[in-house]
Symmetry: C3
Subunit: 661 residues, 3 copies
């Protein structure tokens, strides 16, 4: 890939005539589209009849686009297996949790673990890698499309057998599994791995361990499929490999991207919910830390499917969405899709060009993006994203635990988005890091809602604190073991000693009239909570009212040069949000975090690093305008204007590129 | 049938002893019941054991009733196939969309496409036609009962095979289907018709074309069953054939009644929602245009089933319900049911006589109906319903399209009811016409929410406009092709040229801050919308705010002697309703519609035509009283009172029959 | 069992090491736990491999506990059949109403009617009875655990065959069934019992008789299983047998406990809903009238499962919950569970000791219970619960009828709880009696929401009235026959004559503007109602407005020395509650009920009988404090203080034991 900002769109040349494609290329050039993504749904075009593979059509397309200065990201076509693979083969189909066998239709209808599917997937992947892998203009590969966006854990017979094998590899003996899962409870004990059920319908809930492990099994298996595809491609092609993932799909992104080359993300939040976009950038920049990620899909205007149509963006938003993406580490910013679908189930989805060949409501917005892109490109390619000082662990394994044990419909993704937004609104630059990420360079580590804290994580974070970092633990962190059981040595296992506390009780504090008082504010406490007795720690937050009146829910403990902060309960409501912000702000200040600017709500500040200076990208995201307080004099690198320290007004959907002196 | 107003009730003689029947006949005569409907659930009585058919019981009953001056509508008993047909034959049962195979029980549990069911249905139909077809007192046949009231599209194996055959007949070659449905998308392409799935569960949505076509297939098949039954009956009997349909069942009434003799409708709205009744009269009067329809079922008081009980009508309502029905074209007004069920699942449903043989809460209301009927009969049999000048197309095909593509739970029936109520409240007489109806005699044609406008419809309506009519198109009309795909020549296909506009964009306008300003009012705009650039047309409504600020959403275009009016977006909320009324009122006035009276809300005005005069039936439907402004002097034909032009007060649930001079 | 108050907990020794058990015993002794319940989920421990039974572990445990002064209630382990019984045997599994076959996992996954399950259940029950049945310290048996708490009516093949047999035994001939169920309706008629379907999915509702009878069949079958188990145990053991039931499970408690020795109940209402606990005591004290019942499960603090966590009790509540239970007839008060689960799906449920071996948030509350228990024990063992004068029939058969015919989601349990709470708040002692209970000693009998009134019940209650009792009938009582059909002689069958009324109409009165006026108050009327014409009765409540304006909805009729009161409609809303209280208060006064005290809301008064005096236990249940008016002087038996007649203040969660002079 070149050192430039890519501006792209998904394209489906297999659906259109040559004349339409030629027309589209003209529009692409007008709109500054310099890369297209294609092929992900084209298996039937490539192999209309089993074994009759011909991908020359795509060779021609890639060449044609290249001739027009447009690069290509090519996809493996595995999300939509053709009818010849599913017809007459119910045993190949994905099976729902309630036992429903999927019919042919839509996408992801075949189980990705099915051996025949895998065989055909290998063959088609090998073929397209071989034929297209070294074409000029091919800059990257995308595997499949949005793994597990429509489906979760399959219950087919193949999966059952793989599950048993996986369990055997994980646990060695059935006795070991029985002991670790505590299956003596409810007489669940198994005599052999073959007997361990998939989490199919039962009169009440399955054992937590079983439910959690089946999800982890499923996530590992889809990552294996990705690895298998990547390995085939690498035999024939040198360009990097990615996937278009998201926060909402039933995958473990850390695991999925481990052996891929760069991260890709899809994103469709409405302009009113720009925070839901920012959290994706903060997360996917850190899925493959140190490498640029791509926004592989976003809408020019609105989402649309037969049974739901999304709200259309506010005018002027799209350009700042793009600026925010590029500023926060995106190398490419791509739309889904270039030309509105003529058929299928997404015919109402936003695009650049309509089915009848005219610019859409979003097209003018795209022109604004392109104008913007051209303006920022010279500056952005000379600067890089900066590692944050404030890290939050975003763990898809934690999400699995909280799916199994959701207490009362807890939603990990929205909880984490809220935390990220809190930090964003404090003006602090943040990284949403992998569970197994190294902690060098961070000053604060925040670990909320991670029921299972591995010994490796604990040691790594402990060392981080000892060397001067501040580690904030909780709420809902640490109370479960690797196998999704309860600790027998202490409520929070080995965390307590390190944190200098003893957990007196864990219980459901919500609705008991318990309020937390800490950092100058009082808020109702909620969710499953841990109440602390300080052993070596200092009490920082006290519970008032309720069954544990007077006890601690926030403590801090000096450890080496740093600190361990325990947050045992979830502050609720508006005051709760304020308390969380106060806590994070307090420790950010104590940790002397400098990558922060004082911004008004709705406006964000993104730092980028040049050769020997810091560039702040200030963007109004909410269309209401806002302001930022510049701590020192700076230069607007687009206008060369000198900006004095102090308040700087930011217009509606305005962005400024300010080099700090 | 005689030239009279029928007053009837459903009756189940197979459930009661002779003595009860004799008692009931006495009550019928007291209450003026002059026709009964029976037989629809009596298959087990007629053929208790497979092949042992004996319908003499019903011969005797018909004769007995006839002897008492009571006519009969006889039904084919096919909605409740006996246990001997279903026992041990899961392959004959109806299959739900989720794959659930129906058990024996309730009604409609066997698939009407099953060949064995059809064979037995033919035999029993032939038998009863032969034996009962020419009995004195038999005035009509009803086929089956409420086709598809409990079920929708069956997914059984028989249906699958018929589906493939239907597709082959419709599309000829699989290549043609692939092209028209655009199945290259998502690699759906089929190699043979056999491979085209039924719309069974998939991880995401099926292709729009497939979903829509399966519904149309199902609607055609049930109509075929009706035709088959009708053809058998006609071999043996001369009396006309109908069916008791409704707006909510999963049938296409235009298609279903095509080969039947007159329309029948069931209706159970509560007295507070009388509008939901009026819309049925306006629609079913036009399903078989020019022929009287029947209200085959309504409740004397309230609906009732084990798990839901309806509200009881207000006192005094039932008589005006009957007057409205008769005035709007009903030849018969029948209750479901005469005697409360002793057993089953509808034991709490309103009736005339209770299970224990006493008058019910509704009985006194029925006596009022009969009093009223006697009063109006001499006048009504000398007058006829009048074709309206204002036509609204009510298309069950449009409903199918909007079921497949419901955007955000759009409900065609309630939308159309609202439009009809708008026109009703303007005091304008209206026809809810078939999609393929001729347009002679109309002055305004309104075509809302009809995604697919056929070329025939378009040409017919165009001609209508050229000859002086005003055609109002939209919202949500015209944007889809026959195959439920998107046009490739223009957003609304061939409509645009005729309307003198170009559609700039189609998009989801709701929630974007866009307001429409037109006809003296401003309202928020909603739903999937088309934004126009006038080519030859005049802008009549402009969008303010949002992404298409300043563009047109209402245009009008002179075409020949008439006009094409485009309504591109849905005005929302209370102001939206007012705007719609303003639009319709404006063009009704411009079209010089004269079949209208200025009535207050809750009071309706129904025109009927005598030999050389116009009779206005004014009815207070809401029990609150109201008024009407008489444009000229008139005579109350019941009292011979002369009524001056000007305001006439109408009492609570009062009706007046006023002959206009 | 000894004459003492038991204080117990569920315990799972099979899940823990000896050292943990030893530690737990220490805590038990500290907390005054004098009985444990165990074994209900331990089948796999007892019989890990099919046929290899060894229960010596439990012998040792019982002996060990006995040595520490702790008695045992031993359970049969049948709610959790081991994997060797279900693996590879889908035909043994429970089948949902929608046809879903349960997978292995959770509890109650195997159908209790399956013959192989029953064989294995007999074997294991015989074995444990033989080996453990005469151990010292074993004070009772509990059968299984919470029959039908997770499941309802099974639809498996075994159940189908038993259903047909049950029908044949009940109805003799299929013709009889057809006649009684009225299956001629909708052509349902069956030619043989084999053909009668289970209530599996159908397009609409099944016949009421079928739906009701399948539920009754299922309830009889689970009671048969209980009897079978009890009979085996009795061969080897002399200690009494119980079961831990509830109001919410799909059983008929009257039927289930018929052949058991004493009643047991589980209860988890939150402290804010203490009324939901009182109703259980009032009911289960009367399931086996004259015998103490046990609270076999309650939480020390809160409930908890993976996907839902209950609110934690208010501080101080648990002790008064225990006092109320003991006062109202509980011999034992037991927690679920002693030690928090380490694994499974209830890891967040409240307990006494945490998984990591420390006292929980509830532990201090348990210490309060024990302090209280010690205080009241000497007094309670010398007093007994008193039969109330006010009886309300609580019929699980009525509940079945109202499940089949729920009108609009009527919930029998919550309706009956409301009525019980009304009487409770009037300060009147009440019995919630079995349908077939004798009526000696009662002064008022209230029979609400009992659609089917058997001839035996009618005669018994009639005699009760003739001898001086007041029988209040309705709402919704009497309108259905034994077979869940409608009467043909009168709306309410034979009740009407006895009550001196004729029912004019039954209909759905709600929403019709009908208000009832009676006993000094006016309230909106609701639900399915009966409107009366007094024949010999006196009108006590009149309907105003609506379709039956001016008619009676409450009547009373002198019958011998007593009265029959008809309550034909349900008074709704706040005023409705007041009217119901006024009615009940009026007749309680008329009947000269003396077992009542004037208490403020939130405080309850429970009478107990000593040798020759009456002890009133006054308890503040809502934690807000309250008062009671003592009618005469009394003595506080705990303090020997003399209390004057008049107002006595009761502190927050305070209780007083007052001997009336």
């Amino acid at each position: 890939m070149k050192n430039k900002l890519y501006h792209g769109a998904a394209y489906y040349p297999e659906l259109w005539d040559k004349s339409v494609i030629d027309e589209d290329i003209k529009y692409m050039k007008k709109a500054g589209i310099n890369v297209i993504r294609m092929g992900e749904f084209a298996w039937a075009k490539m192999e209309p009849v089993e074994g009759q593979i011909d991908v020359s059509f795509f060779v021609d397309i890639i060449k044609k686009f290249y001739a027009h200065g447009i690069d290509t990201i090519m996809c493996t076509p595995t999300p939509t297996p053709p009818i010849w693979m599913s017809y007459g083969h119910p045993e190949r189909m994905y099976v729902e949790k309630d036992g429903t066998v999927m019919s042919h239709g839509a996408r992801q209808h075949i189980c990705t673990n099915n051996s025949y599917f895998r065989e055909r997937a290998r063959i088609i992947t090998e073929k397209i890698s071989k034929v297209l892998g070294n074409l000029p203009g091919l800059i990257a590969w995308q595997l499949d499309n949005e793994f597990k966006c429509h489906v979760g854990e399959c219950m087919c017979e193949t999966c059952k057998q793989l599950w048993h094998k996986w369990l055997e590899e994980r646990y060695g003996t059935i006795e070991n599994l029985n002991e670790l899962w505590g299956t003596q409870i409810w007489s669940e004990s198994y005599l052999s791995f073959d007997q361990v059920p998939q989490p199919l319908p039962t009169p009440f809930l399955h054992n937590a361990s079983l439910t959690t492990m089946y999800q982890i099994f499923s996530r590992e298996k889809i990552a294996e499929f990705a690895e298998e595809q990547a390995a085939i491609i690498r035999k024939y092609s040198k360009v990097p490999i990615t996937h278009n993932s998201c926060l909402g799909f039933r995958v473990d992104n850390e695991c999925l991207f481990k052996n891929l080359d760069f991260a890709g993300v899809d994103g469709y939040p409405h302009s009113d919910e720009y925070q839901n976009f920012i959290v994706k950038f903060d997360r996917f920049r850190n899925v493959k830390k140190g490498r640029d990620f791509w926004v592989l899909e976003t809408s020019t205007s609105h989402t649309g499917a037969l049974t739901r149509v999304g709200k259309t963006h506010k005018k002027g938003y799209l350009a700042v969405e793009a600026v925010a993406a590029y500023a926060l580490g995106a190398k490419g910013f791509c739309y889904w899709l270039f030309r509105q679908q003529r058929t299928g189930c997404e015919i109402s989805h936003g695009s650049l060009i309509s089915t009848w060949g005219k610019p859409t409501i979003g097209y003018a917005e795209v022109l604004e993006v392109e104008k913007t892109r051209k303006e920022i490109e010279p500056i952005f390619i000379k600067t890089k994203t900066v590692q944050a000082e404030f890290a939050i662990t975003y763990s898809d394994r934690a999400k699995v635990f909280l799916t199994t044990e959701n207490h009362k419909n807890l939603d990990y993704r929205s909880i984490m988005t809220d935390f990220n937004t809190d930090v964003l609104e404090l003006g602090i630059h943040r990284d949403l890091i992998n569970e197994n990420e190294k902690l060098e360079g961070y000053k604060v580590l925040f670990t909320p809602f991670m029921p299972y804290v591995s010994e490796e994580y604990l040691q790594c974070a402990k060392k981080f604190a000892e060397q001067g970092g501040i580690w904030i633990i909780g709420p809902l962190t640490g109370g479960r073991t690797k196998e999704h059981t309860v600790h027998t040595n202490a409520a929070l296992g080995n965390i307590e000693k390190i944190a200098g506390v003893e957990t007196l009780y864990t219980y459901h504090i919500e609705g008991t009239g318990s309020r937390g008082k800490a950092f100058g504010i009082s808020a109702e406490l909620g969710l499953w909570s841990a109440v602390f007795k300080p052993i070596e720690a200092k009490v920082m937050g006290v519970i008032e009212g309720g069954p544990s009146h007077g006890q601690a829910f926030i403590t801090e403990h000096q450890l080496g040069k740093g600190k361990i902060v325990m947050l045992g309960s979830m502050p609720m409501g508006e005051n709760g949000r304020k308390m969380i912000k106060n806590v994070l702000d307090h420790y950010a200040k104590e940790a002397k975090i400098i990558l922060r600017l004082d911004v008004s709500k709705g406006t964000i500040a993104v730092p980028r690093k040049g050769k020997d200076n810091l560039l702040w990208v200030i963007i109004n995201m909410d269309g209401e305008g806002g302001k930022v307080i510049l701590p020192t004099e700076g230069i607007d690198v687009l206008t060369n204007e000198t900006l004095l320290a102090g308040v700087l007004e930011i217009g509606k959907y305005e962005y400024r590129l300010i080099q700090q002196k």
